[in-house]
Every structure is written in structure tokens, then in C-alpha cells.
């Protein structure tokens, strides 16, 4: 009975198909064609190739101060389909995320990418004195956490950033990938030379960054300026005190990536301060709070002792010149941090915590 019913339906369908004439096929409307704000665009590749910033010509170069659309509409395309469910982006003002350099930084990031598995001369690793290996692994553990906080922070904000500013979203995607690479390379270093991962950080600054929800600009201030300069400083000193070619290459490569991250941070903060009333005052407050977290975390001896051992070449060396070298590293960090605050026009020197000021002369 069931078979008979199915055969009957199939016969009916065959008959309907056979009865279709060309007149029954609807004429294509093609009314989507020609719906373009600027047709006939022919961008030419420049000296650096066909870059994302180079595409900003004519209508496509108009970056609005406020992005009205709440869908994934690419900037420059035509709105007005109707019925597209809103996504609910919360960061829609240009001053909340923009940096003029974002497109170029994106290009630089993808051109200068590297591969930890094959670009690091892992074969150059040699056994280190046990305490130095332990300290190095502890530093790697800390730097893994710096990297995964950066990754999580940026990715959690990505869905809030409007598509009207795609250069920034694209650049931040590369920064997320850089952070992933840094997590990868420090994990590999910790597990490649007879040691292993160390103690988890207390993570007070990490938590402050991850829980920064006031705005993307405020998050950039703590992630790129307050934390980013610290990580940058560790990379610089790590390269100087590398024990072998692998470590030298790791820190050198990470330093270049981190420098790019800092440029986005500086560029965006400068833009936000110049285009939004009170932004500087807000950032000064945010950073003042963040500096207290840094101070509190510095009371935890783990990273201080690990760095002193690395910089001093062992426990004895840590007691003598290692701790002085640590103080110098922290001095470099705070001097650079305050110099960039000055450049941004952020008043941080007067109320900078007294305990941290003591490092400025070291």
C-alpha cells in the first residue's frame, strides 16, 4: 500500500515536470545588480602590494564617526534589505576603537608572521643549571598567562566592535593570533629543556584586564599600556639574557610582535583622547586603579625571584646583581610607561604610587 502511494506521487511529479514550458520559468529580476555606491572602482596595487588601507578610495574611504548599522554589512556596501536580525554591536563610535595605523599594522602582522615549531632553533637548547631552568620555566608560565589574557580579552571584545571599522577588527584578529603564538612558544620553551610549567600567577592584573568592561578604550589602556609595556620590557631583557639561540630568537620575535601591539594601543588612545571630551581624565582614573593592582601583584615574590635568578645567573647571582638587574628592569618598565603616558597627555606622574616611584631611579 505504501509503495503504491509513493509510486503514485512520483508519477504525478514526473507529469508536472513534463508539462512545464519555458513560459512557466520566471524571468530573473536581477534587481540586485548595479546596487552599488561606487561601481567601476579599480584600485591598483602599490609598492607594498594590494593593501587593505590602499582600498580606501572614493566612497570606500569614508569612515563614519558613528556606524549606524547593526548587522555585519561591510563598510561601503548597500544597506536596506530589511529583516536582517540585528547583532547588537555596542562599540559603534569611531573614537571608541579607531587607530589610523590599524590597516598598515594588519599588513605588517601578516607579512612578518612566524612559526614557533620551525623558526626557532630548538636544537640549540642545552641543559641549564637546575635553578635557572626552574626560574626560566616560571617566567614562561607567567608569559603564557600574559598571552592568554591578551587573547581572551581581545576575542571577547571582537563581537562588540562594529564592522564599520573593519581595519581595526582585522588588526585585532592578528593580535589575537600573535598572542596565541606567544602562548605556544613559551609553553614549548617550558616543556623542551628538562623542566616544566611552574606556578600559576595570582593574576590580579590579569583579572583586572579581563574584567575591564567599561569600554574598549579603557581596556586598551590596561591591556596595551599598563600590561603591554611590562611584557615588552620582559621581552627586551629576556633577549639580552637569553641562554641560547632559541631563547634569543623567541624573545626577539615576540618583541617585534609586542611592539606592533603597543603601537595600536598608543595610536588608539591618542585618537580617543583627541576626539572625546573627558577621555583623558577617565583614562587617568583607570590607570591609577590599574597601577594599584600592579603594586599589589609585585608583592608576590614569584616572578621577582624568578627574574632575579635569570638575570643573576643563579641564586647566588640573584642575591647580588640579579636583584639589582630586576630593579633595573622594573625601572625600565615604569620609565617607559610614564613616558608614553606623558606623550599621550595623561597625567600620571604626580599620583603615581610612591612604592613604584622608587624604581624610577634604578
Amino acid at each position: 500500500m505504501a509503495t503504491s502511494s509513493r509510486e503514485s506521487k512520483e508519477r504525478a511529479l514526473e507529469k508536472r515536470v513534463a508539462d512545464i514550458t519555458p513560459e512557466d520559468i520566471p524571468e530573473p529580476k536581477l534587481n540586485w545588480m548595479g546596487r552599488s555606491h561606487q561601481w567601476g572602482t579599480r584600485v591598483k596595487a602599490g609598492k607594498k602590494g594590494m593593501t587593505i588601507a590602499g582600498l580606501n578610495v572614493g566612497y570606500y574611504a569614508e569612515v563614519p564617526e558613528f556606524w549606524e548599522d547593526q548587522t555585519r554589512m561591510p563598510r561601503g556596501s548597500m544597506a536596506g534589505r530589511g529583516g536582517v536580525p540585528p547583532i547588537g554591536y555596542s562599540v559603534r563610535h569611531k573614537h571608541e576603537l579607531w587607530a589610523d595605523s590599524a590597516g598598515d599594522l594588519y599588513e605588517e602582522a601578516i607579512q612578518r608572521r612566524w612559526i614557533p615549531s620551525s623558526d626557532i632553533p630548538w636544537e640549540s637548547l642545552e641543559p641549564l643549571p637546575e635553578v635557572v631552568e626552574k626560574a626560566m620555566c616560571q617566567l614562561c608560565t607567567e608569559l603564557c598567562q600574559h598571552a592568554n589574557v591578551e587573547l581572551e580579552t581581545i576575542t571577547s571584545w571582537q563581537q562588540q566592535l562594529s564592522y564599520g571599522y573593519h581595519e581595526v577588527k582585522m588588526y585585532l584578529a592578528t593580535e589575537s593570533f600573535d598572542a596565541t603564538r606567544h602562548f605556544e612558544v613559551f609553553r614549548k620553551r617550558a616543556l623542551a629543556n628538562g623542566g616544566g610549567l611552574g606556578l600559576e600567577s595570582r593574576g590580579e592584573v590579569n583579572r583586572m584586564i579581563l574584567e575591564s568592561k567599561g569600554g574598549w578604550t579603557e581596556t586598551v589602556a590596561v591591556l596595551h599600556l599598563l600590561r603591554g609595556v611590562f611584557t615588552h620590557t620582559i621581552y627586551r631583557h629576556g633577549m639580552k639574557f637569553a641562554h641560547n639561540a632559541a631563547e634569543r630568537e623567541i624573545f626577539a620575535r615576540c618583541l617585534q610582535d609586542k611592539s606592533r601591539h603597543l603601537v595600536y594601543g598608543l595610536d588608539h588612545l591618542k585618537y580617543a583622547i583627541n576626539h572625546q571630551d573627558d577621555q583623558a581624565m577617565i583614562l587617568e582614573q583607570v590607570l591609577a586603579i590599574g597601577e594599584r593592582f600592579v603594586l599589589r601583584e609585585m608583592k608576590d615574590p614569584v616572578i621577582r625571584e624568578a627574574l632575579a635568578i635569570i638575570l643573576g645567573g643563579g641564586i647566588e647571582g640573584a642575591r647580588t646583581h640579579g636583584m639589582a638587574a630586576y630593579d633595573h628592569l622594573m625601572g625600565d618598565y615604569f620609565r617607559q610607561y610614564l613616558a608614553w603616558c606623558d606623550w599621550l597627555g595623561l597625567s600620571r606622574r604626580r599620583t603615581f604610587p610612591e612604592e613604584l616611584k622608587t624604581y624610577l631611579d634604578k
Binding site: S101, Q111, R112, R113, A252, Q256, S259, L266, D332
Partner: protein, 145 residues
């Protein structure tokens, strides 16, 4: 044998840097910056484009305003750095641009404009710049009086 600093010296280093495959991918790839090297009163402007150093030219002090950053050491320090590079076929950790910049009271990488974006190129392309100077290991250098 080229004398450091001189047009001939920079051109010979450029030739090595631009033609040796090992320097191309080294440090991360494409690099675009214009910087200067200051050795006493001698100043040379270098242009990095893509994977090459496309030009080196003697310039005057005023031209420092046109570059992204400039590198300045005492002539004796430049000499020690270049000798160290020659000895080790690349700078050892005490003589990298990064270490020199960290260890001295006055920074090696400087800017007359104070533009942090442009000055930061020293760090963003740090390894490429290091490989440029490391390429000097492959030429013979004579030092002026």
C-alpha cells in the same frame, strides 16, 4: 676594504644584505622604514623597502627630522660593535642593538620629532635591523682615524 663610516661601507653591507638569502626571511620579512646612522658628525640615511635596503646616502644633521628614528653611538662604540659582529659572525648578546639600547643611559634609537609611532619602528623591525648590521661580518672593515 671599506672604511667605516662611509658611503662605500654602507653600500657593501647593503649588497650583502640584499643578495644573501639567509637575511631575507630573517627577522620576520618585509620591513619598511627610513632611518639614519649617526657616527660622530657623519650621518647616513638608509631606506628599507620590503626585503631590501634600497639606498644609503650621506645626509646632514637637518635630515634627521625626516627619518623614523636614528641610531647614535660614540664612534668607538660603533667600532666595538662592528668588530664584535665580525668576530662572531653576528652580534653576540652584549652587542645587539637591543642590548646597547637597554644598557646605556642615553638610548641608541632616538628621534628628533618625538613621534612614538615612528620611533617604535626600531622595535617592530628590530631583528631585520640587527641582520642588516650582522651582514657587515661578511665584508672587511677599516676604521677611520
Amino acid at each position: 676594504m671599506a672604511v667605516f663610516p662611509s658611503q662605500e661601507w654602507f653600500d657593501q653591507v647593503r649588497e650583502v644584505f640584499n643578495t644573501h638569502e639567509e637575511y631575507h626571511g630573517a627577522g620576520g620579512g618585509a620591513c619598511d622604514t627610513t632611518f639614519a646612522v649617526k657616527v660622530g658628525d657623519d650621518i647616513f640615511q638608509l631606506v628599507m623597502e620590503g626585503l631590501e635596503c634600497t639606498s644609503a646616502a650621506r645626509v646632514d644633521e637637518k635630515s634627521l627630522a625626516d627619518v623614523d628614528f636614528y641610531l647614535e653611538l660614540e664612534p668607538e662604540e660603533w667600532r666595538e660593535m662592528i668588530e664584535n659582529i665580525k668576530e662572531h659572525d653576528g652580534a653576540d648578546l652584549n652587542w645587539t642593538l637591543n642590548t646597547l639600547d637597554l644598557d646605556r643611559d642615553e638610548r641608541v634609537a632616538k628621534s628628533v620629532t618625538g613621534d612614538q609611532y615612528r620611533e617604535d619602528l626600531f622595535f617592530r623591525f628590530n631583528q631585520t635591523l640587527q641582520f642588516f648590521f650582522d651582514a657587515s661580518a661578511k665584508i672587511d672593515t677599516e676604521f677611520g682615524a
